[in-house]
Symmetry: C2
Subunit: 317 residues, 2 copies
Amino acid sequence: MKIAITGGAGFLGVKLARSLLADNALGIENVALVDMVAPPADLAEDSRVTAVTGDVADEDLLAEAIRPDTDSVYHLAAVVSAGAEADFDLGMRVNLDATRTILEIARRHGNRPKLVFASSCAAYGGELPEVVTDNQQLTPQNSYGVQKAIGELLINDYSRKGFLDGRALRYPTVVVRPGKPNKAASTFASSIIREPLQGQEAICPVAPETEMWLASPRTIVANTRRAHDLPAEAWGPWRAVALPGFTTTVGEMVRALEAIAGPEVAARVKWQRDPLIEKIVYGWPARFETARADAMGFHRDPGMEPVIKAFIEDELS
Amino acid sequence: MKIAITGGAGFLGVKLARSLLADNALGIENVALVDMVAPPADLAEDSRVTAVTGDVADEDLLAEAIRPDTDSVYHLAAVVSAGAEADFDLGMRVNLDATRTILEIARRHGNRPKLVFASSCAAYGGELPEVVTDNQQLTPQNSYGVQKAIGELLINDYSRKGFLDGRALRYPTVVVRPGKPNKAASTFASSIIREPLQGQEAICPVAPETEMWLASPRTIVANTRRAHDLPAEAWGPWRAVALPGFTTTVGEMVRALEAIAGPEVAARVKWQRDPLIEKIVYGWPARFETARADAMGFHRDPGMEPVIKAFIEDELS
């Protein structure tokens, strides 16, 4: 089996690559990791891994990773929400043009690879009902969400035409992400857990009562693999789905941190509202009924405390 | 006032141009009509009209029509449904790339023109409820619908960013179109009225009980102008809306023709089912609840008989 992962040196791409490479049943021959930066040492040293490093919107680079015999493409690379908002042209180039380039490369090869696309709940926005259902129109109020919604439409059409076998997943906000804050408007949701656990302060730019729709990295990787493995029939006429998550408030997240690590750790969260971040985050829905994803067997985290415990186990031990 | 209309020599573009030019209150200085073919004589001879004839996906051509002082752009040009289905690349180039080019030209000028975009109810599809409401997710099952849905998303984002002031309209199937059949899967809906009234046979490729969602050319022109004239506030956070139409069956359409023109005329409709056309047409919803458009004051035809009478008055007398 030959695989390409865009954003393959990012936190999710790395976890996905490790999960796939550890699965001997897959018989993996090669995993091409496309990213601006080189993958971590454990992956770089795996003889089955090819690092394809450079501009993820560059057609030649993408064609190095996605070959005529590539079986599966996981397209995770993106300019994140606040980044695409700050630089409109960069967002369009990476989030829209690069997606189209990937679809065209796959189409040209004619081998109909599977393609899993990381979409986002940022594709929702505007006037939303209390609980978002599978039927909800996508009316994103940020450029990142617009570009993701367009990617979903294209992947559906390329799949319907038989150019490839696509699956698009609207990820909830992923917590707890390891590493450093990024330019996503949601980056604080990981910072307020990750930094205090490591003795550092973290700024929370939204009010404690702010609700969020969350999933853990473990669950995201498991669901991304499940999306790939489900037969085409399981998708029916639409190749995009909102993944299960859980609803919590930012205040509850910090209380869960306190329950696990004590009040001193939780007190490292500083509340300092940022209207720009608030405007983006408040536009995202926090309550979903994911009937379709549930019926398709996608997984859901049981709540915030187990998510924090898993983070400590995976990243801090 | 300076206006550009893409698809300006098409049947709808011509009717819109005539309607605008006849409205002295607008103080029109120039209307640029962009199309593959030249406009009809009455428009070509109007000193306020500039014919911009050529490839509607060509940036230089579009920039000839959309100038730094263009106040309003009506973007009607498209490769229609069966055409975009038959030639995927042509559909992407005209329906997606040309739309992006137009948005970028407007953005570059920085004068924030109004832009009215002809979207389509073909943007709906897949598993739909009995009655489609304003909240319905767009899951188009044809490339034309996908490209229109993408246009809506882009126009929303360009409007939100303040690059232009966009409005996107999901047109119902327009009957009765004058002229010849085109490559739209819905073209028969006009042919079965137009051709019999002119002594010719017409083939109906779908069953009589097939429901359709229709609007007349008069109503489409009036609603397109209304969409332009409504203040930005009337649109709120989403710049796309499904226009009002009326639901009827193909059998009822032919019965309305019989009521107006007699059984001999109606007998010129020959029933000959075409599975390819049926597959596309059956995917389009025929019943809508257009609460938002109604509240915004958009117009609705009262039914099939007045629509046929208006066609006879406008086109055959």
